[in-house]
């Protein structure tokens, strides 16, 4: 069991370390952290702060993927959440109370959107990729509806905090992400949630016959994922002091899915790793920060990202490792046929 975990997290961690090492070599001051006015600053802090929304969404996405599902609508939820919060704040007097109500509204709506996704998948039995595609397509339109097609700018000190504020010298955003990670991990491992989610993802029908009420679990994971996206949406719009329905959270679902896959959880569901997803999210965020810090033209971010993710996916792919191993140690005797994947029954 330990060997399995070690192997699953091994490559993503290695990739992350290699990337950070590369950063260090290219720019020796990369890891410099300064303490200014009781706040920590530096590239590493940037990675953590800017990566917090992605980490959150990756955590939510992990559980959804573990149940053999996927949630393409998180980007739309991010936009909707930010739009609603900013709308409320801009229409109401500035203050902590207003901000808290705005949070409540945004998270409440996110919850409802999660319930919608859960309903489509659990109650109507629609394939997750298609079910969440609906909200993904309609969601931006809804966000624009809320913000009436405008970019809503807000100027609220208390709202700002969730995006760029600090607590105990660390950015509030990363503390929130950390808290959610810890909460989720505890919930998943200390309760039977982990096993049940892995069973539902591994074989939904067998789990049903074993008495698992998978519908409830399914609702739960989609609601949780939407909630995470809602919080992320608040962070993102707080960071830019505005709600941009078109661009908020653009592509973040793809980044999140990549983070989860790179972190070792398979798209086919079953075994999952929250820690792996966090590492995957950090890896992707580090890519962006690396590009900025090293002065690589920002146009290259995408290309860079694609290549790094490709490398990690190849390393994680058993098929790739098999071919690589075979090239290094020639087999004795004819081994002409490709060995069939483990799925083929080995019953005699």
């Amino acid at each position: 069991m330990k060997a399995l975990t070690k192997q699953r997290l091994f490559w993503p961690v290695v990739a992350l370390l290699v990337l950070l090492l590369g950063d260090l070599i290219a720019s020796p001051s990369f890891f410099k952290i300064e303490l200014r006015d009781v706040h920590l600053y530096g590239n590493v802090i940037d990675i953590l702060k800017n990566g917090a929304p992605l980490i959150l969404i990756a955590i939510g996405m992990t559980l959804v993927i573990a149940t053999r599902g996927i949630d393409l609508s998180v980007g739309a939820v991010v936009a909707i959440s930010g739009a609603l919060a900013c709308l409320w704040i801009s229409d109401n007097p500035d203050g902590v109370g207003t901000t808290l109500i705005a949070f409540g509204l945004a998270l409440g709506l996110s919850l409802l959107l999660g319930v919608w996704n859960g309903w489509l998948v659990a109650a109507l039995g629609i394939q997750p990729i298609i079910a969440t595609l609906i909200l993904m397509v309609a969601g931006r339109g809804i966000a624009q509806l809320i913000s009436d097609g405008q970019i809503i700018t807000v100027n609220s000190h208390s709202f700002e905090w969730i995006g760029s504020g600090y607590l105990f010298t660390l950015p509030g955003a990363i503390l929130i992400a950390l808290a959610v990670f810890v909460l989720a991990s505890v919930l998943v491992r200390r309760s039977a949630l982990g096993l049940l989610v892995e069973a539902v993802g591994g074989n939904p029908e067998a789990s049903r016959l074993a008495g698992l009420r998978s519908a409830r679990l399914t609702w739960l994971v989609y609601v949780f994922c939407a909630l995470c996206a809602g919080i992320a949406g608040l962070m993102i719009s707080a960071n830019v002091h505005s709600a941009d329905a078109n661009h908020a959270g653009l592509f973040i679902e793809l980044d999140a899915i990549l983070a989860v896959v790179v972190g070792g959880t398979q798209l086919t569901g079953g075994r999952f790793s929250l820690g792996g997803s966090v590492i995957g999210a950090l890896l992707i965020q580090t890519l962006t920060t690396t590009v900025n810090a090293l002065g690589i033209p920002p146009e290259s971010i995408m290309l860079f990202k694609a290549i790094v993710v490709l490398v990690v996916c190849l390393l994680l792919s058993p098929a790739f490792r098999r071919k690589f191993r075979r090239r290094r140690s020639p087999q004795a005797g004819p081994s002409a046929a490709t060995p069939a994947p483990e799925k083929v029954e080995v019953t005699a």
Partner: protein, 507 residues
Amino acid sequence: MPEPQPMVRMSGIRKEFPGVLALDGVDFRMFPGEVHALMGENGAGKSTLIKVLTGVYGVDAGTIELTGDEVAFNGPGSAQQAGISTVYQEVNLCPNLSVAENVCLGREPRRFGRIQWGAMRRRAEELLARLDVHVDVSAELSTCSIAVQQLVAIARALDVDARVLVLDEPTSSLDAGEVEQLLQVVRSLRESGMAILFVSHFIDQVFAIADRMTVLRNGKLIGEYRTADITPVELVTKMIGKELQVLEDLEDSGPTRAEVADAPVLLAAEDLGRKGGVAPFSLDIHAGEVVGLAGLLGSGRTELARLLFGADHADSGTIQVDGETTALRTPRAGLDHKIAFLSENRKAEGLVEELTVRENIVLALQASRGWARPLSRRRQDEIAEKYIKALDIRPANPEALVGNLSGGNQQKVLLARWLITEPRLLILDEPTRGIDIGAKTEIQRLVTQLSGDGMAVVYISAELEEVLRLSHRVVVLRDRKVVAIRDNNQALTADDVMATMAEGVQA
């Protein structure tokens, strides 16, 4: 007279998978105009040997010769081109395509690259007619019964000028009439000079059709024998190394019918039915009773069992458990009433293959506790160890991935899952299908023991001797209807039951 040259000669075949040595230096040969049966328990290596012969797997060591020339296949396609045709145990066809397409896929009649659909349909009809099958070849394969699908797979194999035909458990989904039909086809193919490899768990079929047998055990070759030189008992002994006496003893153990009839009624179904499943039936199950369900494929046995558990929910009628009316609409409800159901389809409806043995065993118990009350790791380990020992699950490693175990051991893991929930009614649907004789015996012994301890058991099996051996009463189904419920006393014979299955209620 000198022996004819073998058409296929496999020498010293060795094949290893991670953690499993599937074949260890196996020799095998096939002669033209002969049916050669490959025998062995599950885990013995039969399926692997076939997949090596048909090009699905490569070998780690050893050679394959076809009519004297050494060959190396790089995929199923090249084996097919060499004249080796296979019909696998799982019907490996495409359900979304038509019957005709499935027969001819990859070899469709074409003109200038364009498929001639009319010619293709006619060819498919011809081939199926040879097997005495007449269906609408334009219909989607998924609309055909499993039996017909199996015959389509065989028709496909006949489409090529095959010199070697491999049949891997071809009769497991066929009824008696269809089996005879198939064996006739095999005989005629044998006459035409084809070399035929026949794998089956049904010993009587093997003795009826095979000229020669090879026995494998644990990946090793035990021996090759001519059918005329070996008896069924000797064959089974070579396969499992144990005696069959154990099975005979089972007949006399366990509670008698009389004792059981006096026991309290555990579950009473009245006019319980489901459209498309089984017509409304009434059945009382007593504590400690073994109720056997007998019937042909498609007669509704599984559907009936699923209704008793809650896997499907009924359209009509009522169920009473311990005298109280309940609606068993979900498996959860069934489990809450201490009913457990072992599905016949352990891969699709039983195991979560990527989880460990321990996790699979505790799954149902954990599900009934809900996610908020986890079983401690220590408790899980205790449970796993206990049942691994009690049921002799191999390998005895609770952290092994259940997908890597052999069929028989997987079945035991599933049994353990249900036994832990301490059911009062245990429903077993084909618990011994596709597993070796050793495990079969153990499971039947277990059923008798559980019944003696007061558990009620519903037992479904295509093998009538098993049903008659274990049951106190036999429920006979035909065409989705319960046609008879008979006490299993001395007077009841297999012929009686089969007659009832075939013709319905006797006057």
